[in-house]
Structure formats: structure tokens, C-alpha cells
């Protein structure tokens, strides 16, 4: 199979080059291809070991997640698609799937050498798939320069071996959405600043049948954006700068011990089986008082003001505020989910895909997608923090600069490389907390187990 794999990659290389040429000078190549076919007929096609490309060169297939702001997918399909057809002559085919399925789709596409031209990859997954990526350094640097620079985490997540293997598209900041009136009722006039305070408030909320909702399930977003910062804020970390696993520490055990008690006292324990969408539904239906999330809950409440109401009949969005995760003994931390686009090396239209990204990132085009997000997703460059949209709704202001404040990435205190991506993809840190919170393991054993799992990756 070594032979099979290397062969499929080299074919993808050749295809990429041919299609690049086809894209750059389509009429000429079409003529040349037509002449080639006329001259050599079926034998020529067979010798090339693949179908002629002229039917595919102008189609661009992009695979993304099902956006939690559905209006944004609508923009891609109904605004971007006709405009990109006009501007670049590309027929845009937007396919959306559950974000949890994106890595599997990427693996299948890469191994078969066939699939979407551009695949959305979250966080540090670009490191895992770097070998199958087209170098987009030129576009990335161009976009960074035009937009006042990209955030440092974006560079670390998308650059492998000094080249950009994917383009940062957006960041979805994770903040706690909470019911202001319910917090007021239990005496919390402002959102708790520390984990201990949050625990105390949470006890009262759960006693009032309004628990905190948090997923500790095997899911891509809300679980790790909670568990990694929790770990860091107690002083725990996965590895040291040399890549040695140092997870099994008294700080980590302390964080797990805290979470176990916090879970029992303050949380909806059904969260062990939640994915990224359960907390949205639970919050909107009034079952939970607070949850770590992107702004999708608030955006949904805003868009459905007639549908989502408080128990007093007021629009729900008027009772929602956002706050950062509380601080632990070693400070306050956050993890915001990064969404990136990788142009696949096997793509028969790699040049077209790259040009599409260049086109989509221009201010005028990106703006159309950005505004419908209403702050759920922030832009990849600093200029989007200055957008006038942020002046429209004060409730969304905490999201504005969240991406800038992110100081740590998965794999801390080492690099956010493919080993860190593998650990995240296997949910090791999240499962560590879930094992203890569910009572399946003692906190010490849960930490030992997780350290052992990390050890298998960092060998």
C-alpha cells in the first residue's frame, strides 16, 4: 500500500498542475486538450490514467460545517455562488456536514484522491492533514497584510514547516451565555470571576432547578473549549516545551477534583451525552441557566424573538449576557475555535480553489458573510474588530476582541502540532474530566489514564 498511497499523491500533483494551467488559460488549454484528444483519441485519455478535466475545471466543491448561524450558509449558497460564477467563472458547490464529521471526510477524500476541492478543518487539524495541502502562503500573506495582520494563534494553527497549509477563515469565540435574571435571583449581580464563585452560584442555581449546562461529550467545540482552559487555569498542561507529557500533576488532579464536585453540585448531568447543539436547545427552552458557547444561542434568540421567551413573556435575548470563563489559581484562560480552509492537493482545480479563497477574503465579499454572523464568528484579521457591526449590539461586544486575547492553544506548553491535534481529536482531555465527573474513575485515576493516552501520542 505504500506504493498505492505514493502513487495516488503523485497523480494528485500532476492533476493539480494540469488544472492550474487549465484555469489560468482556459481557452488555450481547452483547445490544446481538444487537439490532444483528437490526435490521440481514447488512447491518449487512457495513457493519462484519468478522465479529461475540462468538465471539472470550472466547478469548485467546498466542504464546510453546518454553520450554527444558518443564514451564513445561505450567504455562501445564494450570494457567493452567483457572484463567484460571475467574477471567476467558477460554479460553487457548497456542501455542509456536521463539524464532527469533517475529519473523517477529509481522511476519506485524501486517501481516495477524490473529494471536495476545499475542506474546512478546525483548530490544529491542518497539521494533521498538512501532507495533502496545497501551499497557500501567497494568498494568506496577502490577506494578512491587507487586513492589518492575522492573529498569532492563526499562524500557529495554519502554518506547517514555514508555509501556510490552510487559510484561517474565522474564529468562533467561546464565552458563557447566561440568564441575567436567574443569576440575580440567586444573588449573583455580576458574573462570577473565579471558578469557586461560579461553583457557589451554580449550587444555588441547580437547587432552583436551573442548573448550569455543559457538555463533556465526545464533541468538537463546546467540550474542549471548556476543558482545556479549565485545565490551564489550575496550572495543568499536556506537555512541556520539549514535548514530554506532564499532564499527571497535582494541578491537573486539583482541576479534575474541582470539576467532579462542580459537576455534581451545579450541572445538568445529562451533559455527559451532549454534543455541541444540546446546550443551545436546553438554554433556549429554559432548562439551563448558563453554558459555554459561541454566540449562536443569543443570535438564535435574537432572530426568533417571538419564539423564545422568558418565563415572564419577555423576549429571551433581553435576558442573555456573555462572560468569559472564570479564573482559576493560575489565571483566566480561553480557547476559541478556529475555522480554516484547506485547498486539497488532489484537487483538479487547486488554482481555482486558491483564487476563490483570495476572492472570498476581499473585504467587500467577506463582509457579506461576516455581517450575518452578527458576531458569532469573528474575522481572521484584526481589521474585522473595527467593523461597525460591533456598535449595533452591546451584548455581543465581549466577542469582538476575544480572538486577540487567546494566549494558549491545544498542546500547551508544547506546539499545537499534529500530536496535539490527535489528542484533541481523541477527546483525551475532555474524557479525563468526563471519567471523573461521571464517577467512572477517581480524579487521580482519570488523570493517570489521560496522561497514559497522551504518552502513546507523544512518543
Amino acid at each position: 500500500m505504500v506504493f498505492g498511497i505514493s502513487r495516488s499523491l503523485s497523480v494528485a500533483d500532476r492533476d493539480g498542475q494540469w488544472c492550474c494551467a487549465a484555469y489560468a488559460a482556459a481557452p488555450v488549454v481547452l483547445k490544446a486538450t481538444g487537439a490532444g484528444i483528437a490526435a490521440t483519441g481514447l488512447a491518449g485519455i487512457l495513457a493519462a490514467h484519468r478522465a479529461p478535466v475540462f468538465a471539472q475545471a470550472n466547478t469548485l466543491h467546498i466542504l464546510r460545517w453546518n454553520d450554527f448561524v444558518p443564514a451564513a450558509d445561505k450567504v455562501l449558497r445564494e450570494v457567493f455562488a452567483p457572484e463567484v460564477q460571475k467574477a471567476l467563472g467558477l460554479k460553487l458547490n457548497v456542501e455542509t456536514v456536521n463539524a464532527n464529521d469533517l475529519p473523517a471526510r477529509a481522511t476519506a477524500a485524501i486517501q481516495s484522491g477524490n473529494g471536495a476541492d476545499i475542506i474546512m478543518l478546525l483548530n490544529n487539524l491542518p497539521h494533521l492533514y498538512a501532507a495533502a495541502a496545497v501551499d497557500v502562503t501567497a494568498v494568506a500573506e496577502e490577506v494578512a497584510k491587507a487586513g492589518g495582520g492575522v492573529y498569532d494563534p492563526a499562524r500557529q494553527l495554519n502554518m506547517v514547516g514555514g508555509r501556510w497549509v490552510s487559510m484561517p477563515w474565522s474564529v468562533v469565540p467561546a464565552l458563557i451565555a447566561y440568564r441575567k435574571s436567574w443569576f440575580d435571583e440567586v444573588g449573583a449581580k455580576e458574573f462570577p470571576k473565579t471558578w469557586q464563585q461560579y461553583h457557589e452560584v451554580g449550587k444555588k442555581l441547580k437547587a432552583a432547578k436551573r442548573p448550569i449546562g455543559q457538555t463533556l461529550g465526545n464533541t468538537f467545540g463546546d467540550a474542549p473549549t471548556f476543558t482545556y482552559p479549565l485545565l490551564w487555569s489550575f496550572g495543568g498542561q499536556e506537555v512541556d516545551p520539549k514535548g514530554k507529557v506532564v499532564l499527571d500533576s497535582k494541578e491537573t488532579v486539583e482541576s479534575v477534583r474541582f470539576m467532579t464536585q462542580f459537576w455534581k453540585d451545579s450541572h445538568d448531568e445529562g451533559g455527559l451525552a451532549w454534543d455541541d447543539s444540546n446546550n443551545n436547545r436546553s438554554f433556549l427552552s429554559g432548562d439551563i441557566s448558563a453554558t459555554l458557547n459561541g454566540a449562536s444561542i443569543y443570535v438564535a434568540a435574537l432572530n426568533g424573538a417571538d419564539k423564545f421567551k422568558t418565563e415572564k413573556g419577555a423576549p429571551l435575548h433581553t435576558d442573555i449576557l456573555h462572560a468569559p470563563l472564570p479564573a482559576g489559581p493560575k489565571g483566566q484562560h480561553a480557547y476559541h475555535t478556529a475555522f480554516n480552509h484547506m485547498v486539497m492537493k488532489y484537487s483538479k482545480n487547486a488554482k481555482g480553489a486558491t483564487e476563490f479563497l483570495r476572492w472570498a477574503h476581499t473585504k467587500a465579499n467577506y463582509d457579506k458573510w461576516f455581517v450575518v454572523q452578527k458576531g458569532f464568528a469573528t474575522g481572521p484579521t484584526r481589521e474585522w474588530e473595527q467593523h461597525s457591526m460591533w456598535n449595533q449590539d452591546k451584548v455581543m461586544l465581549p466577542f469582538k476582541s476575544a480572538a486577540q486575547q487567546q494566549s494558549r492553544l491545544m498542546g500547551f506548553g508544547g506546539q499545537p502540532d499534529k500530536k496535539a491535534a490527535e489528542a484533541w481529536n481523541k477527546y483525551i482531555v475532555t474524557v479525563m474530566y468526563a471519567n471523573a465527573a461521571s464517577g467512572k474513575m477517581r480524579p487521580e485515576d482519570a488523570v493517570k489514564w489521560a496522561a497514559g493516552e497522551l504518552g502513546k501520542i507523544y512518543t
Binding site: 500500500m1 505504500v2 498505492g4 498511497i5 505514493s6 499523491l9 464532527n100 475529519p103 473523517a104 477529509a106 481522511t107 476519506a108 485524501i110 486517501q111 494533521l128 492533514y129 498538512a130 501532507a131 495533502a132 463533556l216 461529550g217 465526545n218 464533541t219 445538568d268 448531568e269 445529562g270 451533559g271 455527559l272 451525552a273 451532549w274 454534543d275 444540546n278 436547545r281 436546553s282 427552552s285 432548562d287 490527535e422 481529536n425 481523541k426 477527546y427 474524557v431 468526563a434 471519567n435 461521571s438 467512572k440 489514564w449 497514559g452 493516552e453 502513546k456
Partner: protein, 319 residues
Amino acid sequence: MNDPVVAGAGGAARTAAPAERGRVSPLTRLLESESVLAAVLLVPGVLILVLFIAYPFVMALWYSLTSIRVGEAGEFVGLANFTKAWNDTIFQTAFKNTVFYTFWATVFKLALGMWLALLLNRTFRFKRIIRASMLLPFIIPTVLSAFAWRWMFDPTFSVMNWVLFHTGLITDRLPFLSSGDWAMWCAVVVNTWRGMPFFAITLLAGLQTISPDLHEAAALDGANAWHRFWHVTWPLLLPVTLVVVVFSVIQTFSDFQLIYVLTGGGPANSTHLIATYAYQIGVASGLLGEGAALSLFMFPVLFAVVWVQLRYMKRMEGH
């Protein structure tokens, strides 16, 4: 040969034969050979087996011996992937879960399927409609039905919790999918619901081959319903039952869709089966070599099941 018509016809055939034989193409003449014809007829089947079963199997075997990752060729690592899997605590849980899931789901499917088959073997009104509708769980795509069950077991919005709560039977929600043990049993229930019609219909077909005379004779000898089942129905149904159980074990042991949709292997990796964990490692995490090794752990078990089946069938042929 005394029949003039037959003799005439035969004579015509005999006289026509040399002339026709002269016009027969070499290909036809070649195919007249039984061994050649057999080989030709076997070719499509063999090709399908080679392409869709043997080739992927050999590839999986080769992958499992290499460090291949997504997009990277990897190198030969011998049995390292198997050793790693064997020492992996999640894999150990997944293996135990797979055995647990297969055992209990098969027991329930057999017991309930048999009960249903016995009921449907009686005569009553709307028998045909009921027989047909019973197949619905088997006909509906697993992904769709698993999604429906997932909603029914939802940690927050479970309709079952709602009913039990509002009838005063529970005060707190039952942790259908948020407790590992509960979630595993939920998976068994859904698998039983889905697979029971296959058992029922197949056993029903077997029941209908049993002569009613045998039951009448047993009844005349004073056998009650249980005795008639145990001494007449069960022995005669045993061959069919064994085949159905073997097929079910194979399908259940390698099940993927149901767990993937219902629990995704959670909570805290406690409901992974070998297939879902192999997918998690091999496909979702891109560690193709390790994923292939994990999935190959299913092979010895399934091979043993098939071996038992073939051995039994051979013995039956002997009888």
C-alpha cells in the same frame, strides 16, 4: 423407441446434428466443456469477491502492519499496531462492549423473535398486514431509526422521561445516554428492536415447514403447549435458528451505524464498539494503520463464528 413420433424427431435431430456441428463456433465448442463453462460462469463472482472483499481485506492487513497515516505512506512496523491496540484501555472497553452488545442483543432478538414468530404462526384477522408491518424496523434505514431513538433517549428532551415524570413514576430524569451502563443497554434495546423482525420472519418461515400432524400427534399423547414446543417445534427449528443466530452475531458484532448515531461512543468512550473505535482512530484521526489493526481484531471472532456455522451445515448435510 417404439414411438414413431419420438423416433422421427430423434432421427431428424440426429441427421441435423452433423451439419449444425459444422457451423458451431470454436467459442461455443469450448463452452461445451463443463469445466470451462463452470470457470466462465464463476469469473464474475470471483471478480466481485476479489475486488470488494479480498482486495480490501488484504489492504487492511497490509495497513495494519504499517505506520500509515492520512496522506503519509508510513513504513512497516510489524505487529506494533496490534500490541498498541491490545494495551489500549479504550480498545479493551470496546472489545468487552462488543461482546456484551452482541450477546445480549442476540439473546433478546432470539427470544422475542421466536415469541413473535409463534404468535404470527397462528390464524387471526389482519394477519398479513401485521406480518408486513412487523418488518418496518428492519426496512427503515438504521441511521434514521437510530436518530429517532436518540431523540427518545435525549438527555433533556426524552419523551420517555417526560411520560414517566408526568405520570409520577420518576422524580429525576433517567440517564438514558448520559450514563455509560444505561447507554449500553439503550443500544441493546435499539438493536433488538431493529433486528427482531429478521428473526421473527425467518423463524416463521421455519415454523411453517413443520407439519401440524406432529403437533396433533403430540397433543393426542397428552403433551401440553410447552412440551410440544420443546420436543417438537424447537428440534425441528434448530437448523434455521442456528443459521439466523450466526448471521445476527456477525452483523451485531461488526455493528457501526447504530452506536455512531446513538452515542458516538460516549459518554467518556464507554459505549465504543470495535467498529466505532476503529473508525474513530483510523478515519476520524487519520491513523489508518492503527485503525486497520483495531478492526482486524474482529476477524478471529467472526472467523470462529463462520467456522462453527460451516461445520454445523456440513454435519447437517451428512445427516
